[in-house]
Symmetry: C2
Subunit: 323 residues, 2 copies
């Protein structure tokens, strides 16, 4: 059993890291600097990790294309984070100052576009129609769900289905695509590609729900940003949506705070306290656990290997993380 999910692919992740850094370089020093700031904010590299483990788990050997597409996923992911932070007015990202706070909105916007270009360049260089479609489909759905998110902001009675649709596009689809592309490039069977897509999709959903939970109950020094940002921004957040349901105590007060356009820090703290006083965090965690169980079923299509073990470990880590 590997000690951590990334242990069997340390060398490969290092290659991805090099590919990422190579692709932040430009003739404009400031652009390179902002791009580097964005990609080196200490992310978990989960998307590249899942792509590499899926590739290895189905016996893939010619690593080069998978390294390229894994780097592409991370570059595109970084691009969306830079743009998301502009849109959310976020102060920090993973404990580091958000790019647009450090360099200004204009420059961060340009650097985000640049990271998109460099990510799609790598994706396109693989010269596989299937890979281009998988990457583009995930990215299109990301944009769709971000747009949907702006439409339902501050909605106190957001249906569970809409919530799932949002987090599917926003978080789960890119993780699904990473698993899918890795399995595909590793020469996996159609059955394995379907299984690993399901693994990625469900573990992605679980990941986002845990993110929602941490937004409410995490320690700020662990999560690297202020708590209660979803409440503050009026963003869909599962424990919050649960606790706003009619039959929950103080749900009327919670809804009042949530639907306000402007909130004070005290109101956000009050909302957090209300959510915590209910079983909403527990109910949300049970959802995440169910999704994690579902994700493990997808692994059944894989032969036993240290890479499959690592994918199991990764699925555990998603639930147990505190940041």
């Amino acid at each position: 059993m590997p000690l951590s999910w990334d242990q069997p692919i340390m060398e490969e992740l290092r290659m991805v890291e090099e590919e990422i850094i190579r692709n932040t370089r430009s003739d404009e020093p400031l652009l390179t600097e902002i791009a580097m700031h964005a990609v080196s904010s200490g992310g978990k590299r989960m998307r590249p990790g899942i792509a590499l483990l899926s590739f290895k788990a189905v016996g893939g050997t010619d690593l080069q294309k998978t390294v390229m597409v894994a780097a592409a996923f991370e570059l595109i992911h970084s691009a969306t984070l830079v743009h998301d932070d502009i849109n959310d007015g976020a102060h920090t990202r993973r404990g580091t100052i958000a790019a647009y706070r450090k360099y200004g909105t204009q420059r961060a916007l340009i650097a985000g576009d640049f990271l998109f270009v460099r990510g799609f360049r790598l994706g396109g260089l693989i010269q596989s129609e299937d890979v281009v479609e998988m990457v583009a489909e995930a990215c299109s759905q990301m944009a769709e769900s971000e747009m949907l998110q702006t439409v339902v902001e501050h909605d106190v009675a957001l249906p569970f289905e809409t919530y799932i649709r949002i987090i599917t596009g926003k978080t789960a689809k890119p993780i699904e695509a990473s698993a899918q592309v890795g399995t595909y490039l590793g020469g996996g069977t159609l059955d394995q590609i379907a299984g690993m897509s399901s693994f990625g999709l469900n573990i992605g959903l679980a990941f986002q729900i845990v993110d929602d939970i941490l937004d409410i109950s995490g320690k700020e020094k662990d999560i690297g940003k202020k708590r209660g940002m979803d409440i503050f921004d009026g963003k869909a957040n599962l424990p919050l949506l649960i606790a706003m349901q009619d039959h929950y105590p103080n749900s009327d007060r919670l809804r009042k705070i949530y639907e306000k356009d402007e909130k004070t820090e005290e109101e956000v703290e009050e909302a957090i306290t209300i959510v915590k006083s209910t079983d909403a965090l527990e109910v949300a965690m049970n959802h995440a656990r169910d999704l994690q169980h579902k994700s493990l079923k997808g692994l059944e299509t894989l032969p036993e290997s240290e890479f499959k073990d690592a994918l199991r470990l990764l699925a555990d880590t998603v639930l147990m993380r505190d940041r």
Copy 2:
């Protein structure tokens, strides 16, 4: 001789238009709406036009890939315009309200990202490493030059070389890439690819200089936006840079206005009047004319045809346009 540069490729441009519109569709109606707003602001479709004419001029026959990449160029161009307008605080684009003014900054930013994704998807589907590199290189240089532009804003003594570097990346490179890709996909010789690259690059530079001139002397109803925006934003603009040179009358006053962070409408009008009182517009136009002559040399690699005639006409139109 064709009546207008787009006359011999009307049918092909219609195919590109369909491809563009197909690629604005998404499952999120609001996203589709903003994407449509962005691509249908009545642009000149110069990039697709140049790609198609180059393709035809070297005898290309299998049109499909060129239609795809021509649509890709236009989708990416629209994406950058949406993001540029956010960065510039522009009110209108080609006479139509800027996307971010109509839909808000957040949504425009997301829609721009979406158009990028859809453009790069089309570019990647062609499955040519060369084409991906040409498109990505042009886009990287676009980002680099936009970044450089933010660095030199309000610089009253910008060297001519830096100005050329900015407009090369911002405007000329994507037009060069359109010509290059069209010639390449049409099966042109290396000589023809080099010739058409030079055509695209130089006509792109001339185009931007005419844009700069129109920003100062154009009619607002023709250019579809307020006059003097470059002065207002402190952007590099050739006639302005010329008139700010020491030996020009009132150049000190012009520099004073230009380097201000905040300017009144009266000051912008005063600056326009000063520039117009000099020969700066004429000097700039001579630069544009030189570049146009240089661009025509690139056409010498092509055999005579109605498509070559159309490219000549296009080069004339670039100089004679009033919008």
